[in-house]
Every structure is written in C-alpha cells, then in structure tokens.
Amino acid sequence: MALPKMVVRSKVLANELIGPLVWRLTLSAPQIAAVAKPGQFVHVRVMDSLAPLLRRPISIAEVYAAEGTISLIYRVVGQGSAIMAEAKPGSELDLMGPLGNGFSLEAERPLLVGGGIGLAPLVYLAQALCPRPVTILMGGRTKEEMYWQDIFKNLCQNIYITTDDGSLGQQGFTVDALDDILAKGNFDFVYSCGPRPMLAGVARLAKLHNVLCQVSLEDYMACGVGACLSCTCAGNDGKRRKICSDGPVFMAGEVLD
C-alpha cells in the first residue's frame, strides 16, 4: 500500500540523554506525525554535508499527533548517531518518511517483546494499542539499560523484565522468560523488535503457542524506499523481500522459520 512519503525539515525541540548512550530526540514534524504508523521509520540526514553522505534509518518512537511532534530514541553507535546527539533545540533536521510498513493494530491482547534499542518502535506501538491492555517483555544487559521502564510504565499494564546479568527482573534473555509468559497470558498477538537471534526465538515460541507474531527487521539501508536492494532478504515462500519497503515489519512466518 502506498503511503504518503515526504522529506521535511523538522525543528529539534529537545534532545536528551535518557540512558547509557541512548538519546531521545523530540522533533516538530506535523506532516509525519499526522500519518505515521507504529513500526514505520524515518530516514534521517544527520548533517547537510557530503560526509556522512547517507541517511540513517531510525524508528519513530513516539507520536503526538495533536502537537505535531514525534520522537526518535536512538543509541550512539557511530558517526551519524554521534552527530545526531549534538543536535541542539532550535536547529533543523532533514527527515524522509514515514517509510516502510507498520505493525498490525488488530491485536486485542497484545504482547510486546523488545530487546535493547529494539524497544524504540514498541513505544509508539504501545501508544497506538492503548487503551487495549498491553503487556511488554523487555530485555537488556543490565539494570542501567532499563530506563525503558519509565517510558513504558504508563503505556503497559504488565511489564516483564529480563537482564543478562540478573541485576533487574529475571536473569537471562527475553526468550527465556517468554515461554512462561505466553503460557499463562492468553495473548492474541506478539510483536517483537530486537536482535535477530531474539526475533527467531520469539517467533518460534509464538508459533508453538499458536499466537500471531510480527517482527521488525533491520539491515543496512541506502535508499529506504525499495530502490537500491541493499536490504533484501529471502522470504519463506522463496520470494525476495525488501526490508525497507516490504517491511521492516513482517509476519514472523514470512521471513523467519
């Protein structure tokens, strides 16, 4: 389905560190706020220079349609994200989007499963699923990474947490906790975003428990609109998928086994 796409210069309203190396950038982008769906992303030109040249794909993390604002929650991992972290309120950022296809909003009893920065698109998903009762299972390495709790606590009825080191919630990976949660939870849809191995585990368990499952995939992207084929993957039907424009959200069975 064709979605309205555009390039806008959006004004930076705030840009704050919310956790280790993770920032929340609030932008005035009414045209994008008006149409964005959870799971979609914007393609960000971090600077008006030829170096860095390419845009960076970042999920839309929050949308306040009435205010015409959106937020991006991003981790500083390299050159582009470091430049984003320096953006000052009042300055402008060039955004292309919203791109890709979002999550289904059909769920009645949704379970969100996110790991690390993969939790970002789930914020807007949780916003959009309200007032349905949203449960989230979130994973991180240590409790220092679980500033996400503050973000999700107003959006979710139940919050489950795992940390690799056991410093908060259950020790282990999200997938270790998921079987139990699915067993007792009566969920009708699992939504997941995070590292590939996690997505594979989530998809496997969702299938086992006979719950619909969508996953959001990532890849290196040049165009973001399906033109360059840098982000393709094989679908289980043997057909190719472009993560940017056929995804980034897919039914788990479409792309994972």
Partner: protein, 303 residues
Amino acid sequence: MLAVNIAGIKMKTPVMTASGTFGFGPEYSEFVDLNRLGAIVVKGTTLLSRTGNFGRRIAETPAGMLNSIGLENPGADEFLTMTLPKLAKYDVPIIVNISGNTVEEYGKMATKLSVSGVAGLELNISCPNVKQGGIAFGTDPASAAAVVCEVKKNTSIPVIVKLSPNVTDIVAMAKTVEEAGADAVSLINTLLGMAIDTASWRPVLGNIVGGLSGPAVKPVALRMVWQVAKAVKVPVIGMGGIMTAQDAVEFLLAGASAVAVGTANFVNPYASVDVAEGIKDYLRVRGLSDVRQLVGRVNDNIV
C-alpha cells in the same frame, strides 16, 4: 529548453536516473513525477533471476558509498511480464540495463527486451559485483566489442554501452565500443573499492569488494567523460557523483549530452528533478535557450 535526443531516444530533460539507484521507477514515484525525468534506467537485469550477493551490501565511505548488490533482480521474463506493463502509464523512456555472463546471453536478452515500451538498452559490461564475466567484458576491449556486436545483431533499438572506470585507457574502450556499433556510451560505473572493519578484521562487505559511487568519484568521472567525449562521435551520458545541477553542468560542459543521477537519489529523493530544474535555472540566468549550448563547451577554453 531541456529536451535532448540521445541516439534516437527523445528525452524531456537531459537528466536520467542511473541504473540500480532508482529501482524500476515506481519506488520513487511518491517523491518525483516520473514523467518529468529524461529517462529511467532500470535496475540491472539478467536473463535469469538473481538473488545477489550475501552479507552486507553497502558501506558508507567519505562522501561516497560502496555497494555490492550483486545484480539482484527478478530476471528478464519477470521484468517483461510484471514490471514493464506497470511502467506503461508513464510518459518517460525506459532504458533497460542488462548484464550477461556470456556474449550469447547479452544477445538473447537484447532480442527478448526489444519490445514496445523499452526505449533503449544499456549494456552493463562493467559491473564489478558479478564475478563471472562482468568485469572482464568491461576491461578487455575485444570482449566488450564482441558483446556490442552480438547485441546490435539482435536488436534495432538504441544501444548504450556503459563503461567501467577501472581501466588504464577509457578512451580506447570507448572507441572500441563505438566502432563495434554502440549508439551511445555512458560512464562511469563504479570504481572498485573495499572497506575493512577494524573491530572484526573482516571485509565490511559480504562480497569483500564493492563499487564506489557518490560525490567522492566525481572528479574521476568528469575527467573520463571529458576524455571520452573528445574522442567519440556518439553521445556520451555522464554520471558519477552528481548531487546538484552545478555538478550536472560540469558534466555537460565536459562533453556529456545527458547525465544520470545515481547515489544522490538516496540522499535526496527529489535529486533527479531538482537537478533538471537547476539546469533550467542555470540556463535562464545566463540567457541561454537550450541545454545543448553547454555540451562540450569547456573545450572552447582549452588550447
């Protein structure tokens, strides 16, 4: 003011899209009115479908990018049955960029693709991402000539030959393909490059090496276009790092009769029309009435 005719292909503007950077066109149709383009050169097409290279396929480099897509495409048949009909509604010449593993394959594709709706063929004899054939055709004049002859034997639509910059003597290559019957030449394809991940000690790209494109390569592209345009009689389509109308004008002044916008589309999805509009402004400001008044004019000032 902007119309040009490249080897019989009538274009509303001299600004085409570069193969592999604009999909088949519709991918960008929510950003640009495809009818305003000079021509759409579609993603490199092969006889059979290809899934392309494994692993990471792009890497950013200073003012440029490496790609090793490896010619992923649905194959000529699917292009003809599924894609081409969808392009019919647009009033823009469609040029199919083709790659073959053998001389015969190029000939077969030429036959197959010489159908209504296809305005021209661009022979990719220079893709650095295909190990079989590819690079050899683009760097060896004799095989390049063989490909061109075979294609010309099998089609009557205009044939553009796309040259690889990874050669000692680009002029010799251009002259060879011109003699072999090329109706136009386009250049440059990507420069062969590499990046290494210093954390993992691995090549960044799954395919180890990839093709460098974007503003970084513009000076090399411009030099080659200038050299080739002086040496051949067929029209030259210039590309390599064009981001702005200013860049495009440089290529026109160097001798290109048309230009193609590639990597720039990824940065600015409006680039192809922005460049065309900018050329129009450039002409207006200078009181010029026709873009052809620019072509090759740098040579007026070279003794």
